[in-house]
């Protein structure tokens, strides 16, 4: 059964159209990531599910019940805010138990819930501290603890890791995912970090300007982006885009300055203009490659070498997993497999 179901959801802020025709089905126990650039409506969508924003039209249901007119406190969803929103006048224990105390649960049950959450999140030594006495990472864990003691129907996360440093973020990424697996609850996770989304989620929803551009499993979005926007958004460093055209025989693409057209392994209508997308990690440095590249800059991270340069006059980024000996101005040859060539309509941006 679908735990969360949105159909034809629209949201207007006065003149501004923040969500456009959102259809989304989230099965029970799924981990869904909402990603998109800043201002695309991720928070708005999440807050609409929580009931903190009134949607303008459409329906939202949770566990089969239509909740459009149900106030947030009756929707049985828990949210982890980007700011954490911990109650400053309550210590960690009272922060986590506020919801249970409001529901007048027995003292034993509350104590057991706190003990379990504190053990899960490594907070046992901090129960008597106030939020201002905690580090950023500890606050983040308290915010998670406040959500999990309740065993809600749905967990909502609004960029919960964005205030943490890079190292802690990677660690918490794993912990949040592990927690999700343990609790088996439905989670909706907002982030603008596509790596976070790719590594954590079962299902990714890409939003742009209030509209869903594409949704599906992470690798499906990576392998078969529905449009230019999704292709550019997913993957790091991001995909190379080149203006080009299909050759007269319909089986190759090329662009001005490229010596030999690239084979597509399929037939398209001849001579149409296309945008060619080549992921940096799919371009291989090979002596028998068909594309000539001139090196501009080399960035070495240790595990990989990022080569920036020009290929047939177009800027191109290539990732190499070895440690090639290269210098500015060197010439390389690149190869790409036909099924790694993404093509998009230059006007609509849709995949061809």
């Amino acid at each position: 059964m679908n735990q969360v179901e949105l159909s034809a959801v629209e949201k207007h802020y006065g003149e501004y159209h923040a969500l456009r025709n959102i259809d989304l089905s989230i099965p029970e126990g799924a981990f869904v990531a909402l990603i998109g650039p800043s201002g695309c409506g991720k928070s708005t969508l999440l807050r609409s599910i929580a009931g903190l924003e009134q949607i303008s039209s459409g329906t939202i249901s949770i566990a089969g019940e239509r909740v459009n007119d149900v106030p947030p406190r009756r929707r049985d969803v828990a949210m982890v805010f980007q700011s954490y929103a911990l109650y400053p006048h309550m210590d960690v224990e009272r922060n986590m138990t506020y919801s249970l105390r409001l529901r007048r649960r027995s003292a034993d049950l509350i104590a057991a819930a706190v003990r379990e959450a504190a053990a899960t999140l490594n907070l046992s030594g901090l129960l008597g501290r106030y939020p201002r006495e905690l580090s950023g990472g500890q606050r983040q864990r308290v915010a998670m603890g406040r959500a999990i003691v309740r065993h809600p129907k749905v967990f909502l996360f609004d960029e919960p890791l964005s205030n943490l440093d890079a190292e802690l973020r990677v660690k918490m990424r794993g912990e949040v995912r592990a927690l999700h697996e343990r609790l088996g609850a439905t989670s909706i996770y907002v982030t603008h970090d596509q790596i976070e989304a790719m590594t954590m989620a079962d299902h990714i929803v890409v939003l742009k300007a209030g509209r869903i551009e594409q949704q599906g499993p992470p690798l499906a979005l990576y392998d078969r982006p529905a449009n230019r926007f999704v292709a550019g958004f997913i993957g790091s460093p991001s995909i190379n885009f080149i203006e080009g055209a299909v050759t007269a025989d319909g089986g190759h693409v090329t662009w001005e300055g490229l010596e030999r057209p690239l084979s597509l392994g399929r037939r398209l209508s001849a001579a149409q203009r296309v945008q060619i997308g080549l992921r940096p990690e799919h371009l291989a440095v090979a002596t028998d490659g068909t594309m000539a590249m001139v090196v501009d800059t080399i960035e070495r991270t240790g595990s990989q070498t990022i080569i920036l340069g020009r290929c047939g006059g177009q800027p191109m980024t290539v990732i190499d997993h070895g440690r090639p000996v290269l210098a500015r101005g060197d010439n390389l040859r690149l190869a790409v497999a036909p099924d790694h060539i993404h093509l998009f309509d230059p006007d609509s941006g849709a995949a061809v």
């Binding site: 406190r73 828990a78 805010f81 929103a85 109650y87 006048h89």
Partner: protein, 300 residues
């Protein structure tokens, strides 16, 4: 010379000048008059020796005379009623209005600003206007209440001994509410919105959010406000002078007005000083309750 200049510019010299200036100011305009006042409360002061400090000491005689005055307990009771009732009503009214204005309706901030208009009018003038409005036979208040059939005959708001104190308390509440409204609004808007959202998702209804979030987070602000408001009410002089002058027969007289009457109407300056010193003790008690309360909060 250069070294002195460097000390001011780069080290603690500048801070010391600032502290020194305010210390001099405080001494000249608060400390010295205060000492002078305390001194007078232990002296026999009359119109002939008022100009010199060297006056006959009388020990606690001024205080004894005050305590023995037949009106003393009436005035204490009036003062307590005036301050306590004013503070409670100002706090409740100011809080209710502040919450009301937090509901961002059209023109809310504009209207809230209008509340402060009462403050640009001098207190004595406000007292006069209310006196006209509350006048027994010609006042608009009685006319209004009569046309609404709430009262039958004229009510003598200011000259009925059982009403006079309540009436000046009412006007003082009216005057003090904008002060509470403004400062409570500032405190309320400093509470992050997402706390309310988190509480809402945690299952708190409006009343629970008010008791669980708003009140605890406003505690310090409210304590400071009540302490300050009570002190302002203890200083309230203009309204009483304009409305009842303490009458009829002291039924609306309060300590601050009595002190003035003793000093400047009957020229018993020693007695007036003694009353003001007693009031000062009350103010010190109020202030230390506030300091203790906020300190325990910070230690928690």
């Amino acid at each position: 010379m250069n070294r002195a200049l460097d000390f001011v510019r780069d080290r603690s010299g500048f801070e010391m000048i600032l502290i020194g200036l305010s210390a001099v100011y405080l001494f000249l305009f608060a400390g010295a008059p205060f000492v002078f006042n305390v001194l007078m409360s232990f002296q026999k002061v009359d119109l002939f020796n008022i100009a010199s400090i060297d006056r006959p000491f009388v020990g606690f005689a001024n205080y004894q005379k005050i305590l023995a005055n037949p009106d003393f307990w009436l005035i204490v009771r009036n003062t307590v009623v005036f301050v306590a009732l004013s503070s409670v009503c100002q706090l409740a009214g100011g809080f209710a209005l502040a919450l009301f204005f937090m509901q961002d309706f059209a023109g809310a901030s504009w209207l809230r600003g209008l509340f402060l208009a009462a403050w640009i009018t001098p207190g004595y003038a406000i007292g006069q206007v209310w006196k006209w409005m509350l006048a027994g036979d010609t006042g608009i208040a009685n006319y209004f209440l009569r046309s609404l059939h709430i009262i039958d005959g004229p009510v003598y708001w200011l000259s009925d001994p059982s009403l006079a104190l309540l009436t000046i308390t009412f006007v003082n509440v009216w005057l003090g509410i904008p002060f509470y409204l403004l400062l409570i609004s500032v405190g309320l808007s400093a509470i992050p919105r997402d706390l309310y959202e988190a509480a809402e998702l945690d299952g708190a209804n409006a009343v629970q959010r008010f008791c669980g979030i708003t009140l605890p987070l406003m505690r310090d602000t409210l304590l400071a406000l009540v302490a300050l408001g009570a002190i302002l009410t203890l200083q309230q002089f203009d309204l009483i002078a304009a409305l009842t002058a303490g009458g009829p027969v002291n039924s609306s007289n309060v300590a601050q007005f009595w002190s003035w009457q003793l000093s400047f109407q009957s020229y018993q300056i020693g007695l007036g000083s003694a009353v003001s010193v007693l009031m000062l003790l009350v103010v010190v008690v109020i202030a230390s309750i506030y300091v203790a309360a906020t300190r325990s909060e910070r230690a928690a």
